[in-house]
Amino acid sequence: MKTKFLIAGRLALGLIFVVAAYAKLKAPWLVFAGSLNDFGILPESWLEPVARTLPWAELALGLALISGIWQRWFALIAALILGLFFSVMVRSYAMGLKIDCGCFGPGEQLGPITLLRDFSMLALAIAVTIFSFRKPQIPADAEAEIAVA
């Protein structure tokens, strides 16, 4: 059950990051720079570099999660990134900003639904990270063999 959850959770997270990256990459980088600017947290000189690199980083992270390599570390990175996104969104929402979420490309206003969605993704990333860092359980049949020996 735990193994199945880990695989499903990892694949779901990976897919989410790939979809998010694709939505940003298919539009001009200026569009994502606009979303970043609306949040008002980055200095002006950071807008272009972040808008140009973050979608590629999301794509790489998504593919890494899907492939399963260094699962625990990539799951941890995903949880940290989603935690950062979620806290920035909560801050902007609390400030009453009527802005685009920018999460999956433009045209989606920040609101309770986007916050719920990102919280769910963050919860999933945390769960996958916690389970990945726990020692793998010994399968029942292996335990029986150990007992016989």
Binding site: M1, L30, G34, N37, I113
Partner: protein, 219 residues
């Protein structure tokens, strides 16, 4: 085991909400060929080299605070470095958000009336510059009187009262905003280059526009 059961609904909610919310074709960043239905702007709303390879179209609402900031902080530099040097053509389009801004349409009428008599830039800049004052009272004329000569002001006054073309010009821009560019908010800039329209809905700082326009012009 129990914890994993708790997080499974979270996973499902994530997936469902994600796919329910992800727009199939994000409207605000649609990049598409120039439509033949695109409304030609009235001439006084166009500035710069008519044959420039890149066009910078700005949809604004005169009562929108971000538009006023955009016109104060960004547009003078765009005009000086790109439009007046012939690199980029500029088109100003009206997109009054009448549901939330009661004087936006009237302000656009005043600006366009000034445009009809060759005073468009002066009027537009004054309307944005004094937005704080007239947006409380609707007395746009009191601000324009300060910059327009008395004769010109009289003509503007008459045009605002009786010229039906002013609303028609605004409607053309609004139709284009709604049907071609799907403008979500103001200010929205459309970069037109190589037959494609890129819709960017944000009041980005000049340095970012500069970087983007320089790359567009170098393509």
């Amino acid at each position: 085991m129990r914890i994993s059961l708790l997080f499974l609904p979270a996973c499902l909610i994530s997936g469902l909400v994600l796919f329910a919310q992800t727009p199939a074709a994000p409207k605000a960043a649609t990049v598409k060929p120039v439509s033949t239905k695109a409304a030609a702007p009235v001439n006084y709303k166009e500035m710069g080299n008519p044959s420039a390879r890149v066009t910078f179209e700005a949809y604004t609402d005169y009562e929108c605070p971000h538009c006023a900031i955009f016109f104060r902080d960004v547009m003078p530099q765009i005009m000086a470095q790109y439009v007046e040097t012939g690199k980029v053509k500029f088109v100003h389009r009206d997109f009054p958000l009448n549901q939330i801004h009661q004087w936006a349409q009237l302000a656009a009428r005043y600006a366009n009336a000034a445009g009809e008599i060759g005073q468009y830039d002066l009027a537009v800049n004054q309307i944005f510059k004094t937005q704080d004052s007239w947006s409380r009272t609707g007395n746009i004329e009191a601000e324009l009187v300060k910059v327009l000569p008395p004769g010109a002001m009289q003509k503007v006054r008459e045009l605002v009262k009786s010229d039906p073309n002013l609303d028609a010009s605004i409607k053309k821009d609004v139709d284009m905003a709604m049907n071609v560019d799907h403008v979500p908010s103001t200010p929205t800039v459309v970069i037109v280059s190589k037959g494609k329209r890129e819709v960017i809905s944000s009041a980005l700082p000049f340095s970012v526009w500069k970087s983007y326009l320089d790359k567009k012009l170098a393509e």
